[in-house]
């Protein structure tokens, strides 16, 4: 009997089904790779960053010695501010470890406390000069090396020469820990301070404020201009070469690498218009040029989804074209426009490359007070900290990343909520 077509197909079926299963497997593997990468990213950042929300503090019984702070007894705020509070801390440390005599050891001992402790004492005295002459228990931030040891990032088994802390220092820290003088507390400094060279004093507040001003400028420019451009192109513009050209331009700008916008900002805003370097104002200008195409494209899509019957109804009632747009189409399209704008803002918040070009990478300690003050932004702060060698900055970089991601989640969540809340099927 000669094999029929059905037989031939039967013979090949097993192989074909296997190929089918393989093909399906590839797809599943790909999705898994993507999700695994996402998981790895989050695990690595959360794993490195969560510990930065706590910081080790040292308990010191500080004797506010009048002879050191205010030898003349005038209580003059200026001389109080200039007094040598470091001496008070040094004295306290010496009393804690009276056996330390060697000069070099003493210097190491003093370094267990953060240099920021001086300012804490100064602040206390400035607020309450009555403290002078009394003895107070003060919790001050420990040095980042102490913090790292307590958190277990410094390996005690490594030979002494390869460690950041030598055996003596570790012994002191252990002694402090044993008497309950070391404690991990919530790291308020991280959320309230500007940048610093000392990891235990470095915070993201300056960068958050810088990001805020930058985004305000971006929003103030790109939302009205983007909506106006979209309204013109979608509702008024005739179909001709000119509007085609504008459209091609917008689509291309949406795909231009962000760093090129930085070059534009550098040569136009800084060199040509001589606006101040490192200022959120310039950052906002550059970012609004960058987000404008996103806003325009989203706004046009939103305008397009308003059905023509609304327009015809308005025109039929005698509204002018401008009235039809302003009174009927625009309000209906607004939720979609807002959603697109929020997504554009979220992109602008995470953007750093163009801001490097306009000098927003400077080391800035002060929290900016306006859009013209030099400042940096959150993603650039992450970039700056990622470059520093201290181990303590690794966890702070990760923590700053977590904060940035939290902001992005909130913004994107708001966009999704807006879309769900106001989505209309016509």
């Amino acid at each position: 009997m000669t094999p029929t077509t059905a037989d031939k197909i039967q013979a090949g079926l097993k192989k074909r089904y296997a190929a089918e299963r393989r093909f399906r497997g590839y797809g599943l593997v790909s999705v898994t790779i993507g999700l695994a990468a996402l998981l790895l990213l989050f695990v690595s950042i959360i794993g490195n960053g969560y510990s930065a929300f706590q910081q080790t503090f040292v308990k010191l019984d500080v004797q506010f010695d009048e002879a050191v702070i205010d030898p003349k007894g005038t209580r003059d705020p200026q001389s109080l501010a200039r007094a040598d509070y470091g001496q008070l801390i040094k004295k306290t440390m010496r009393e804690l470890f009276p056996e330390v005599k060697n000069r070099r050891d003493k210097r190491k001992l003093y370094k267990l406390v953060s240099p920021g402790a001086v300012f804490i004492l100064q602040d206390m005295v400035r607020k309450d000069p009555e403290l002078i002459g009394t003895s107070q228990t003060v919790w001050v931030p420990a040095d980042d090396d102490v913090d790292m040891l307590i958190k277990g990032y410094i390996d005690r088994d490594v030979p002494e020469s390869a460690r950041r802390l030598n055996d003596k220092e570790i012994a002191w820290i252990d002694a402090l820990a044993a008497t309950g003088s070391l404690e991990k507390r919530f790291n308020k400094i991280f959320f309230t301070a500007g940048d610093s060279r000392e990891p235990e004093l470095a915070g993201i507040w300056g960068a958050v404020v810088g990001s805020f001003y930058t985004l305000v400028v971006t929003l103030a420019l790109s939302f009205p201009i983007g909506v106006a451009a979209a309204v013109y192109l979608q509702e008024f513009a005739p179909r001709n070469r000119w509007t085609d050209f504008i459209e091609v331009n917008i689509n291309n700008l949406a795909a231009v690498p962000s760093i090129v916008f930085g070059l534009l900002g550098l040569s136009v805003f800084l060199n040509f218009m001589s606006l101040p370097r490192s200022a959120p104002l310039v950052g906002g200008l550059v970012l609004s040029l960058m987000t404008l195409p996103t806003v325009i494209i989203a706004s046009r899509a939103s305008l397009q989804s308003v059905p023509p019957s609304i327009r015809e109804g308005a025109l039929g009632m005698g509204a002018s074209q401008m009235q039809m747009v302003a009174h009927h189409v625009l309000p209906l399209a607004m939720p979609g426009m807002l959603t697109g704008t929020i997504i554009g803002m979220a992109r602008a918040l995470g953007e750093s490359a163009p801001l490097l070009m306009i000098g927003m990478v400077a080391f800035i300690v002060n929290v900016p007070e306006g859009p013209l003050d030099p400042s940096t932004v959150l993603p650039v702060q992450i970039y700056l900290w990622a470059d520093t060698p201290e181990r303590a900055f690794v966890e702070r970089t990760s923590a700053a990343t977590l904060v940035l991601l939290a902001f992005l989640v909130i913004m994107n969540g708001a966009a999704v909520w807006l879309r769900k809340r106001f989505e209309q099927r016509w």
Partner: protein, 460 residues
């Protein structure tokens, strides 16, 4: 008065103008206000627009040219000995004057002439500020007055207001064109200056990149080499690695999610994958430097390979992860655009689902997928933060992904971050690189958009 204060005052004036205009309209119409051509608020808006717009235009022009004109006046007033100085030297002097005026550090002792110039500078600035305030406010008042006088029952206020608003809308929509022109001009001018110092041919085909400029003539290694081939090669290598990750993973996951997966799985997995697109690039860069690069180096050491800690592989892999959602969402669109009738026909002929996808859907979607991949490549080429943080600085001409290479974007950042003088080929080189980057990504985008559009038309 400071600029924000001026603007605040102007806003108040405009609000007042609105009210005046509205009242005036009602007043001229008398009891028969039906004889008014437009609603009273249009007369108000017309007055307010005439109050605010000319003043704002004046303010913008003033702020744009104030500094230039004052500088020219100050230089013209300097003693003759200074006039003969070359332009850079003159610029230095003007900078010193400015710094002295704003209380910053000055680079030299100021002699009597210069101190006089500082005074002159200061007085000119003060005059300019006062004049601006006066002229600005009088222009606003004048505009308001003129508009107010025009108000009459048969004055077509609504049409006028709508015409002005339309002009404003048109101006907003042309901003995209100005941005493009701005980009082109800003990189082009500096690039032309660069190509005067370094021949185009040397830049495009030179094999050595060491962007140094001599401070003294006899300095060692003073020549500097601006051959960009190693940068192009490095960029291509990293983009290639990224595409080797993103293209297959993105494409197959798009196929799986749109053709095979359970709707519930798709609803969960697709947004999760899209999170990858929303993560800032600086986070990817940090991830690459902190986690992936050490991982690859340790793995390499286990196999006895010498892997650089800034290997192209680490940067490329992470960049690939970043691009996955980009590729998969474009592929998803394109695959969904293939008509159902093609699928039905193929299945009816007895093909399995994978045969249908491989032999019918993919060939039909190929142009769109190619367009999408081109867009993804242009993304990869222009990506900055990942490579700045995870790739190297040294320009190696190599195809070994385990070595450190550098890219165009990394070099732009390194050349332009920090203090810079604007006349050395070193900084100008960054603009030439920017020009190359812009042209290449522009070409890729134009081709890709054209291909995608052609493809869409095919099935519509």
């Amino acid at each position: 008065m400071s600029t924000p204060l001026l603007i605040a005052v102007l806003l108040l004036l405009a609000a007042a103008a609105f009210e005046f205009g509205r009242r005036r309209a009602l007043q001229v119409a008398g009891p028969e206000f039906r004889t008014l051509h437009s609603l009273p608020r249009y007369y108000g808006s017309y007055t307010a627009l005439w109050c605010a717009l000319p003043a704002l235009i004046l303010l913008g022009a003033w702020l744009a040219f104030e500094d230039k004109i004052i500088t020219i006046l100050v230089i013209a007033d300097l003693p003759a000995a200074y006039q003969s100085l070359s332009e850079p030297e003159l610029n230095l002097i003007v900078n010193d004057l400015r710094n002295q005026l704003s209380g910053n550090v000055v680079s030299r002792e100021l002699n009597l002439d210069m101190q006089a110039a500082v005074k002159h500078y200061g007085s000119l600035r003060a005059t300019s500020k006062a004049a601006l305030a006066v002229i600005f406010l009088s222009v606003a008042m004048l505009g308001m007055g003129l508009a107010w006088r025009k108000i009459a029952p048969d004055f077509w206020a609504r049409n006028r207001v709508e015409a002005i608003v339309k002009v404003l809308l048109i101006i907003c929509s042309t901003l995209a064109i100005f941005t493009t022109i701005g980009i082109v001009l800003s990189v082009l001018f500096e690039s032309i200056r660069f190509f005067r110092a370094v021949p185009v041919f040397d830049f495009l085909f030179g094999l050595e990149w060491s962007p140094q400029t001599a401070i003294r003539e006899d300095q060692v290694g003073s020549s500097g080499a601006f051959g960009a081939v190693p940068l192009f090669a490095g960029t291509l290598l990293i983009s290639l690695i990224a595409m080797l990750v993103a293209a297959p993973v993105g494409l197959t996951s798009a196929i799986y999610l749109s053709e095979y997966s359970h709707p519930r799985f798709r609803a969960a997995a697709k947004p999760l994958l899209e999170i990858l697109a929303g993560i800032p690039t600086v986070v990817y860069g940090f991830f690459a430097a902190l986690t992936v690069a050490p991982l690859i180096r340790d793995a390499g050491t286990n196999f006895g390979l010498d892997v650089s800690s800034e290997s192209a592989l680490a940067a490329g892999l992470v960049m690939g992860i970043m691009i996955i959602p980009f590729v998969s969402s474009i592929s998803d669109d394109v695959i969904n655009a293939v008509p159902q009738s093609l699928r039905d026909g193929s299945l009816a002929l007895g093909s399995t689902q994978s045969e249908m996808i491989r032999k019918v859907v993919l060939p039909a979607a190929l142009p769109g997928i190619v367009g999408g991949l081109l867009l993804a490549i242009s993304r990869a080429i222009g990506e900055t933060m990942i490579v700045v943080m995870a790739a190297g600085l040294a320009a190696n001409l190599t195809v070994n992904p385990l070595e450190a290479v550098t890219t165009v974007t990394v070099q732009i950042v390194t050349l332009l971050v920090g203090d810079q003088e604007f006349d050395s080929p070193k900084t100008l080189a960054a603009f030439a690189l920017g020009l190359m980057l812009f042209l290449v990504t522009l070409a890729l985008n134009v081709i890709a958009l054209y291909v995608v559009r052609k493809y869409r038309e095919q099935y519509e």
